[in-house]
Each structure stands twice: as structure tokens, then as C-alpha cells.
Symmetry: C2
Subunit: 148 residues, 2 copies
């Protein structure tokens, strides 16, 4: 593997900085409007998109940026807040599902406009349609490349 080029390093640095800024801003907006933070959003949306709005915890771990113990704790909190419930698995008695509740869905819907505005404003707005397509393409390639 060769050395990192100047151009690659420049791309990396802007990538990192842009990411940090955007996340920071979206997170701040969500907090100001008393909406669920991004990690929670990720869990809720994953459940929302899943069949029966439920997912094994193991599946959930793959969809969010958390270790399994981290997920256990997050699910604990969300269950306490009533956004989801744990449901013991029939087939595999070691396991459990997280199931989205109505309240969870409400909070998901309420957070979305804020989140969406952030994506638009902080991420998409300054880019042309073409640039957006290129970013999507490149990031998808990179993601796949790193997906075992």
C-alpha cells in the first residue's frame, strides 16, 4: 500500500471537519427543540422500518454506531422513556426484540423535520445536484469497501 497523497489527505481532512460540524449543528438543533438525539433517532427509525416494527437487539447493533453493551444501555433508557419495549423472543430464549411503541413513533415523527432541515441546510444546501450524486456514489463505495 502506497503513501497517502496530498490530495487524499486534503479530502480526508475536509471530510472529517465537515462531518463534525454538521453533526454538531444537527444535534444542537434537536436538543434546542427538545427532540430525541441522533443515536436515539437511529434506533427508532431502524425499528420503524423493520417488519412489525421490531428488531432483535443483535440486528439493531448493526444499524447503529454502538457496541452491544452500549445498545443494552440505550435500549434500557428508551424503554424507561417508553419509546420502545423489550419483548422476549419465542424462538430463541436467549434473545429479545426491541419493539417500537406509539410514543416512540410520535417522537420519531417529531424529530424528523428538525433532522431533515439540518441535513438540507448544513449538508445538502451548498452542493449542486451533481455534487450530491458524486458524494453519494463515493461514500457508498467507501462504505461497501469497509463492510467486511
Amino acid at each position: 500500500m502506497e503513501r497517502v497523497t496530498e490530495s487524499e489527505l486534503a479530502a480526508w481532512r475536509s471530510f472529517i471537519k465537515a462531518h463534525a460540524r454538521i453533526i454538531e449543528r444537527i444535534e444542537r438543533d434537536l436538543a434546542e427543540q427538545k427532540k430525541v438525539p441522533l443515536t436515539t433517532y437511529d434506533v427508532l427509525i431502524a425499528l420503524f422500518e423493520a417488519p412489525d416494527r421490531k428488531l432483535r437487539l443483535g440486528e439493531l447493533t448493526k444499524k447503529v454506531v454502538l457496541t452491544k453493551s452500549g445498545l443494552t444501555r440505550l435500549v434500557d433508557r428508551l424503554e424507561r422513556e417508553g419509546l420502545l419495549v423489550r419483548e422476549k423472543s419465542e424462538e430463541d430464549r436467549r434473545g429479545a426484540y426491541a419493539v417500537l411503541t406509539n410514543l416512540g413513533e410520535v417522537q420519531l415523527r417529531q424529530a424528523w423535520p428538525i433532522y431533515a432541515r439540518g441535513i438540507k441546510q448544513y449538508f445538502a444546501a451548498p452542493l449542486s445536484e451533481d455534487a450530491i450524486r458524486q458524494v453519494e456514489e463515493s461514500m457508498a463505495v467507501v462504505y461497501k469497501h469497509n463492510n467486511e
Copy 2:
């Protein structure tokens, strides 16, 4: 401000996922090789690049993804580990500089090859030169757009 398009949302999702994966992997590599983690690296490189290899804590906060209290704690740790020292400011007696030590520079140099390999392998490798240039361009635009 209009609605987020499908294309923008797709770009956003790959962007987020790619970022998470890459950071995860680089961080793991650094830990396995007993090198300093990324946040520490960011502080050390900022100092290394600064005149006299020192920076006011306030300046440092701007260069890393940390609040000022977070930075205070990180600087505490790095000082304990001998990677930098605090130096009281003469001009402004409220403030302090963080000054890179030799050990700090050594650790910085030792971490770089691992970090660089990660950037190359997890980020740059699957992208063409052209794609890299486009990513750099887009991310720079986005960053500037969010830089007040």
C-alpha cells in the same frame, strides 16, 4: 428551505455510515498498536503545526471536536502522560498554553503511519483520483458553509 430529496438523503446516509466505519477501523488499529487515539492525535498535530509548538487552550478547542471543559480534561490527561505541558500565559494571566513536549512529538510520529495507512486503506483506496478531488471539493464547500 425546501424538502430533502431522495438523492440528498441517500448521500447523507452513505456519508454518515462511511464516516462511522472508517473512524471505527482507524481507532481500532491505533488501539491495537498501542498508539494515541484520534482525539489525542488531533491535539498533538495542532500543537505540532503551531508556531513554537504551542497554542492557547481556546485556540485548541477550535481545532478539535471537544467543548472547553472536555479539552481541559484531555489536556489534564495528556499532561499527566507527558505529551504536553501547560504554560501560563504572560500576556493574559487567565489563560494558558499547551506546549508539545518531545515525548508528545515522538508519539505523534509513531501514530502517523498507522493513521495514514487507515486513511489510505479505508477511505482513499476505493476512490479514483477524480472522486477524491470531488470529495475534497464538496466537503470543503460544506465545511466553509458551516463555519459561521
